[in-house]
């Protein structure tokens, strides 16, 4: 566990050394800010619903951009060899990098707290859905980070890692909008697989163990996949 923390700490710090982090955060804030306030002033309601409706879509592009370097860069530079010949296990490496990615996504959400604070001055804000939404956002970010990490472990090319990551995250998000194509018999099952379905539940302020379990299991499956890929590499 100590090794996990050391690796996570190092990866997290590395984000802020390169301009990458600042670029991604700026773009994220710009996009969320634009969409949020556009809808906010149109609907004229003191709610953060507009932010959370779009968050899964925005995240499915932003989070893979954050996680793409985690393995791909190391494989490309060769520092992967240095990392793995130190006394760490595959599990330490996977968990450490995952925690760094998820923590970065969480850190990226902190500046958006300005929105609910602004809104609460403008009208009576119901804090329940806001808190639910943020919990959901962190869980969603963690699940997407795990998927992005898996994509990153597949290749030494960061762009491919990004595209693969986006493809998986985007598909999982989009399932919710594609349901009307499906026969009723498998509807419930497919709906359960979609990210958006679970995220929207939480962001209504309903914290259901099924939704939490869903995000945790997506993270777990992706991390286990990453672990298997790493094992296959040696």
């Amino acid at each position: 566990m100590r090794q996990v923390i050391h690796i996570a700490k190092k990866e997290f710090r590395t984000y802020f050394v390169s301009p990458m982090a600042y670029i991604v955060i700026s773009i994220f804030l710009l996009v969320t800010g634009w969409f949020f306030f556009l809808a906010f002033f149109l609907s004229n309601q003191a709610t953060l619903r507009h932010l959370f409706t779009l968050l899964p879509l925005i995240f499915s592009f932003v989070v893979p951009a954050i996680t793409m370097r985690l393995f791909a860069e190391e494989l490309n530079v060769g520092s992967y060899e240095i990392l793995l010949t130190m006394p760490v296990t595959f599990m330490d490496v996977v968990l450490g990098k995952f925690l760094a990615g998820a923590a970065f996504v969480a850190a990226m959400l902190i500046p958006t707290l300005a929105y609910p604070i602004t809104v609460s001055f403008l009208g009576p804000l119901d804090w329940g859905p806001v808190i639910g939404g943020y919990i959901g956002a962190v869980l969603l970010g963690a699940a997407f980070s795990a998927i992005g990490l898996f994509a990153s472990s597949l290749t030494r090319n960061q762009i491919i890692a990004f595209i693969v990551g986006v493809a998986i995250c985007f598909s999982l998000t989009l399932i919710d909008w594609m349901l009307f194509f499906l026969p009723r018999s498998i509807l419930g099952f497919v709906q359960y697989l979609g990210m958006n379905f679970h995220f929207q539940n939480i962001s209504k302020g309903i914290i259901d163990s099924r939704d939490i379990l869903y995000f945790l299991s997506v993270s777990f499956v992706s991390l286990y996949g990453t672990y298997l890929v790493l094992q296959q590499r040696s």
Partner: protein, 311 residues
């Protein structure tokens, strides 16, 4: 200390390492020599646990690599080829991170880093980013990384690759200095380097060990024969072979080439007898013009080339 048995590694269908066996004793400096693509790096990577052997076992002390890789990693220090470090970290941050992973506490960490910085001469670059420092410094940072845990076994993959002659000497001195108490395995394709630093030389070609002995023994085998180069004018190969080839003690006669009437020939002879006088006297009796005449003892380089020659 290290025992490898029937070690084999396939990359898909390509056999990189083919059923090799070796033992390395404590305190030995072993040089792994071989042409490019011979399988040196693969062997080292398997020893560090980075690659899993296709078959065969590696034992380090009482640990086997497939069951106790973590314990073995704790005993090892490893410098991969061309020291691939995290290029966006400061040298200090990097060493600090390595010390953390190696399990140093706060106080121990600082004094250990200071010691390594002194040993590897890193004081000037501590606050530079890894991407900014020269290749030689990178190699030294890599060496400091490898020695962080004061490992019992140090594995270095081409530690002097791409360094200038001064840096090569410095790195060699560091290796020798550490080698007094540690087991060191390093790979190189520079012979003089292996000769200068190693107690034992293992030559590898196409995944197989083709020579394994001390530098001393190899050198002796090499110096049993010596080469004499002669350049002559006003003659032809047949008469030179007839005259010089008949001298007692000449093992072989090789016409090297002929250009503008000048013949270059190479004679191999036992180094125990000095035949230069005999050759000179033979030539004096003829009307040949002697342009060049020198003797060299066979070096490790010749042996290496003979052993790893393409068939």
């Amino acid at each position: 200390m290290i025992h490898a048995e029937n070690l084999t590694k396939y990359y898909r269908d390509v056999c990189a390492v083919d059923q090799i066996n070796f033992d390395i004793q404590k305190g030995e400096i072993m040089g792994l020599l071989g042409p490019n693509g011979a399988g040196k790096s693969t062997i080292l990577r398997m020893l560090t646990g980075f690659l899993r052997p296709t078959s065969g076992t590696i034992r380090v002390k009482d640990y086997t690599i497939d069951r106790h890789s973590l314990e073995i990693k704790k005993l090892l220090g490893y410098l991969p080829e061309s020291a691939p470090l995290y290029y966006d970290m400061l040298v200090y941050d990097y060493l600090d991170y390595v010390a953390d992973i190696r399990g140093f506490d706060k106080g121990g960490k600082f004094s250990r880093i200071c010691r390594l910085v002194d040993l590897c001469g890193l004081t000037d670059v501590m606050h530079k980013s890894v991407s900014e420092i020269s290749k030689g410094y990178k190699q030294r940072v890599g060496l400091a990384h490898a020695m962080m845990n004061d490992p019992e076994i140090l594995i270095l993959d081409e530690p002097t690759l791409g360094l200038d002659p001064n840096q090569i000497v410095e790195i060699r001195n560091i290796i020798k200095q550490i080698g007094k108490e540690k087991t060191i395995i390093f790979s190189t394709h520079i012979l003089s380097e292996a000769e200068a630093t190693c107690d034992r030389i293992v030559i590898i070609d196409r995944g197989k060990i083709i020579a394994d002995s001390t530098a001393e023994v190899l050198r002796q085998a090499a110096s049993e024969e010596c080469l004499i180069h002669v350049s002559l004018q006003n003659t032809d190969f047949t008469s030179v072979e007839k005259e010089l080839g008949s001298i007692d003690g000449i093992v072989s006669f090789v016409p090297v080439d002929e250009e503008e009437g000048i013949l270059h020939v190479r004679l191999t002879c036992q180094s125990s007898a000095d035949l230069r006088g005999d050759i000179y006297r033979k030539i004096k009796q003829t009307d040949w013009i002697l342009l060049e005449f020198h003797q060299e003892t066979k070096t490790l380089e010749n042996i290496f080339r003979e052993l790893t020659k393409e068939d």
